[in-house]
Subunit: 168 residues, 2 copies
């Protein structure tokens, strides 16, 4: 018995982004309860040359959306990077997961050895599908979801591991 490229990609990514949306809901509720301007939280970062929360969410959306699309041989819809509020960031995540739900197992099956070239900064990188999924898409999406969580925790938002992992 084996698992498929679809099983190992789309459901995990949708779940991670849904959990991130719920984490952002808690951030918004915290700002309201404490009468903090929410933009203070969405602009927060852990170090001056790290990305703020807004970009952590945008990048998590991009890597998941574009990654799954590349495995399927498609081009992902472009999203403007113009969000500033919690509501806008949550909406971006909903648009992202709605797109990913349109991808079918048949489109992604068999992409293990598909050659995938993507821009990384000023360079391009080329992967086969399986290492692209396991060593680039998944760790990268979890990196940005975790860092978004860490930024909000560092700002005092009450979150726990179960918010990050989601319901079993």
């Amino acid at each position: 018995m084996t698992i498929s490229m679809y099983q190992a990609s789309v459901p995990s990514l949708i779940r991670a982004l849904n959990n991130l949306a719920a984490i952002l809901e808690k951030g918004a509720a915290h700002a309201e309860a404490k009468q903090i301007d929410p933009v203070v939280l969405t602009n927060s970062r852990l170090y001056p040359d790290m990305f703020p929360l807004v970009q952590q969410v945008q990048i998590a959306s991009d890597i998941a959306r574009k990654g799954a699309a590349r495995l399927a041989g498609l081009e992902a819809p472009k999203l403007e990077d113009d969000e500033t509020t919690f509501a806008q960031l949550i909406d971006r995540l909903h648009k992202t997961t709605a797109y990913m739900e349109t991808l079918t197992p048949e489109q992604i099956e068999g992409s293990e050895e598909k050659s995938i070239t993507l821009p990384v900064g000023k360079d391009t990188m080329t992967f086969e599908g399986l290492p692209y999924l396991l060593y680039f898409i998944l760790p990268n999406v979890y990196f940005h979801v975790t860092t978004a969580y860490d930024i909000l925790r560092h700002c005092g938002v009450e979150l726990g591991k179960s918010d990050y992992l989601g319901k079993p």
Copy 2:
């Protein structure tokens, strides 16, 4: 074509922990260069009720080691949680990956539907092998590796995404 439970688990986990060991090496070098007591860094945390760096590393090791062992139907070797220095934490990661390298594809293949029960706090959780890997082991290990990275970045250690993702 499909992928195996072994392919989707052990190599990704070993890679994540090797990257974490390299991140800790940079933390140790930073402490030495800046004449900071390294224990200040290993005890750092992002918020008072979050775990410090030491425990982030211990937990990443535990979830990877015990998770892979459970998929294989084995019991992972116990490690004492007594590390305080960078060198000791790096040694723990080396012991962890050395154990995981003893696991063979044959031991883990076919564990997709294996019933796995594990202690989580005071409770137990039961998973099938595939959701245990995709929705518990992988996101959890990436969570603790990323948070270790975020703690050191927050303390001023110069790290970049490529330290976290490792060499392609």
